[in-house]
């Protein structure tokens, strides 16, 4: 199965060039059944990445562009009164898909945002007293523009940790961008083929929690979260939910690295994506120098003394 996953990563990186690490992180997030937040400037390939992932894993994909006038009903769906049958019929919104790309989530009003976040948390929606389950698997990949532009509503701090991971894509390197430009002139980019089907993917997902974690790794994670709680440098300490997420992500990462046990390097690989948005109080753009999760890692020894 690991080979299939590797193939998938390979296939996706044909579409999003030079971003193998981010692709792996995105897959880690999906394997850990988490929702992903991609934060970057427009035109960095956020949408392509989501699309590519969706088609590789064979997920039903929907994309919603968030705007300020987007209403909760626009994503969830609405009960429309049918004049002929004289009754309400629920018209499912774009939310009812296996993978939803919520583009520029911070453009929508807080009301719409929280409708989405609530659905993400509960894996179901209630409209007019009826509960509608969401499909399984169900992923949300949200993107957001880090610049604090007028007319945007940054996600509230308290709801940021609904996202399992936050990643940034960043500019591609010289080589990759060059290759991208070359390919653009030669042939049009096609969405990649499906490599893993949904049942296989669900099977893989169920194996993630079985990855072994030794006491040494758990202690390392505990040292990390405890340090964030004790030290003055971290305004928002990591919650127990965060430590759970770190462990789960590290497990998924170990699985992607073809290992059946977790080593500290796995934790370190996922920590910036899992913990950074939880450590930061507001959505001030995170530059590398001011990276809190790196600071956390540097302060904590991987080995017990």
């Amino acid at each position: 199965m690991q080979t299939q996953l590797e193939q998938a990563i390979e296939a996706i990186s044909q579409v999003v060039l030079g971003k193998k690490h981010q692709i792996k992180l995105a897959l880690t997030c999906l394997l850990a059944k988490g929702h992903l937040l991609i934060e970057d400037l427009p035109g960095m390939g956020k949408t392509s990445l989501s699309q590519a992932i969706a088609s590789t894993i064979g997920l039903e994909f929907n994309r919603v562009q968030f705007t300020s006038d987007l209403m909760p009903a626009d994503i969830i769906g609405i009960s429309i009164f049918d004049n002929t049958s004289k009754e309400f019929a629920f018209h499912k919104g774009p939310l009812f898909s296996q993978m939803l790309l919520a583009d520029e989530i911070n453009r929508a009003s807080p009301k719409t945002q929280s409708a989405l976040l609530e659905a993400m948390e509960e894996h179901q929606v209630s409209v007019d007293g009826t509960t509608w389950p969401l499909p399984n698997p169900f992923f949300v990949i949200a993107t957001q523009n880090p610049l604090h532009q007028s007319g945007t509503y940054p996600l509230p701090e308290s709801q940021l940790d609904r996202f399992f991971m936050r990643i940034q894509l960043g500019y591609p390197d010289w080589q990759s961008e060059r290759q991208m430009l070359m390919e653009l002139t030669s042939h049009s980019t096609m969405p990649p083929k499906t490599i893993i089907d949904t049942t296989q993917f669900l099977d893989i997902q169920s194996q993630i929690p079985k990855i072994n974690t030794s006491a040494a790794v758990i202690d390392y994670i505990l040292r990390l979260v405890t340090f964030s709680r004790e030290s003055e440098e971290f305004p928002n300490p990591l919650s127990p939910r965060a430590s759970k997420a770190i462990l789960l992500a590290a497990k998924a990462w170990a699985f992607l690295s073809s290992r059946d046990y977790v080593i500290p390097e796995d934790v370190q690989a996922v920590l910036p994506s899992v913990a950074e948005h939880r450590l930061r109080s507001s959505f001030s753009s995170a530059n590398a120098a001011d990276n809190l999760s790196n600071k956390l890692m540097e302060s904590v020894d991987t080995l017990a003394a």
């Binding site: 309400f88 709680r229 004790e230 003055e232 003394a305």
Partner: protein, 337 residues
């Protein structure tokens, strides 16, 4: 006279302590910062040893003598046990949340190991008593059952930066013969916000827009339902009021209120009377109140200005400025006993 002597002695003691145990964020107990002396009970215990020795000698009773020596040996062994136990203690000051003047500020102390060993439990046994410098014991924790952090409350009086007083930690482990203690002062500047005093919003201070205070509530929430208008084809079906359709009415479209970015300015000069502190306190209350109602407001304190905004971090910035404001420039940190 006695009072004077007492305060002179305290000053000397404090100076000596400042040299001996300099301020720090975290402390590991060691020779230089741990004090150990027999407790009252320990002294009584020693006297008992002496009494038994005299009795044993006079009665020519070797067992009594042995008992006296045995007690003395226990005394000696506990001296080292007591110290070795207390020296395992590590204390670190955690994040201190700003407090309002006049209320109590919580100092969270994290005990035990954190960076090197993953030991959540305290290595130091027995009960630990916490108190502020020359105050009665405030908290007692036991190593077998405690959870980090241990919160010590300190009374704050004035706004501004506040350096917390020395905290005394003491232990009588293992059998109460010795008192091991330390006086720690943590290197921390705690921000004390002014004490909020309720007052009315001065209407003339709403400078940037023509709206007055009464309209504050409508400016909040920009996606609230506002009104209905007849449906024109092409509009989103999602906005049709279907419940009205079901009642047989014609199709109407819901209208939503737009965002209202009216900013309120809180300016010190509008509140200033003879009492600067009162004005600052009132501004504090207003800032908190406006922030709770999610209003957009700005703050002007003489030269200092905070541009209008909403949210918690904005409120924090405003409160910090209010705490540190002084008409002639710089505010300084100070001890508050």
């Amino acid at each position: 006279m006695m009072l004077k002597l007492g305060s002179w002695w305290n000053r000397r003691l404090e100076r000596w302590l400042n040299n001996r145990i300099p301020d720090d964020r975290r402390f590991q107990m060691n020779m230089s910062n741990v004090f150990i002396f027999p407790s009252k009970f320990g002294i009584a215990f020693c006297l008992l040893c002496g009494l038994l020795f005299i009795l044993g000698t006079n009665y020519r009773n070797n067992l009594m003598l042995l008992l006296a020596y045995f007690l003395l040996a226990i005394f000696l062994v506990t001296l080292l046990n007591s110290y070795a136990n207390f020296a395992r203690l590590k204390v670190q000051l955690g994040k201190v949340k700003p407090a309002y003047a006049g209320s109590e500020c919580a100092l969270p102390l994290w005990l035990g190991e954190n960076d090197k060993k993953a030991i959540a439990a305290l290595n130091c046994h027995g009960r630990l008593h916490f108190r502020l410098w020359q105050q009665p014991v405030q908290r007692s924790i036991e190593s077998e059952q405690y959870s980090n952090p241990v919160v010590i409350l300190v009374e704050t009086r004035r706004r501004g930066y506040f350096i917390p007083p020395r905290i005394t930690i003491e232990s009588y482990y293992p059998i109460g013969l010795f008192r091991c203690w330390t006086h720690l002062r943590f290197k921390a500047q705690i921000l004390v916000y002014p004490n909020p005093i309720p007052c009315d919003l001065r209407t003339e201070s709403l400078t940037t827009t023509d709206e007055d205070g009464a309209q504050l509530s409508t400016s909040i929430g920009n996606t609230d339902f506002d009104s209905l208008k007849p449906y024109t084809p092409g509009e989103s079906l999602n906005r049709v009021a279907w419940k009205l359709v079901a009642k047989g009415q014609e199709m109407m479209t819901k209208q939503f209120a737009d965002a209202n970015h009216a900013a309120i300015w809180l300016d010190l000069k509008n509140y200033l009377t003879d009492d600067l502190e009162l004005a600052i306190s009132q501004l504090t209350w207003l800032a908190i109140d406006l922030s709770q109602r999610q209003a957009c407001f700005g703050l002007r304190l003489g030269q200092t200005e905070v541009t209008p905004d909403t949210g918690n971090s904005h409120l924090e910035t405003c409160l910090e400025k209010l705490s540190l404001y002084s008409p002639n420039g710089q505010a300084k940190a100070e001890y508050q006993p």
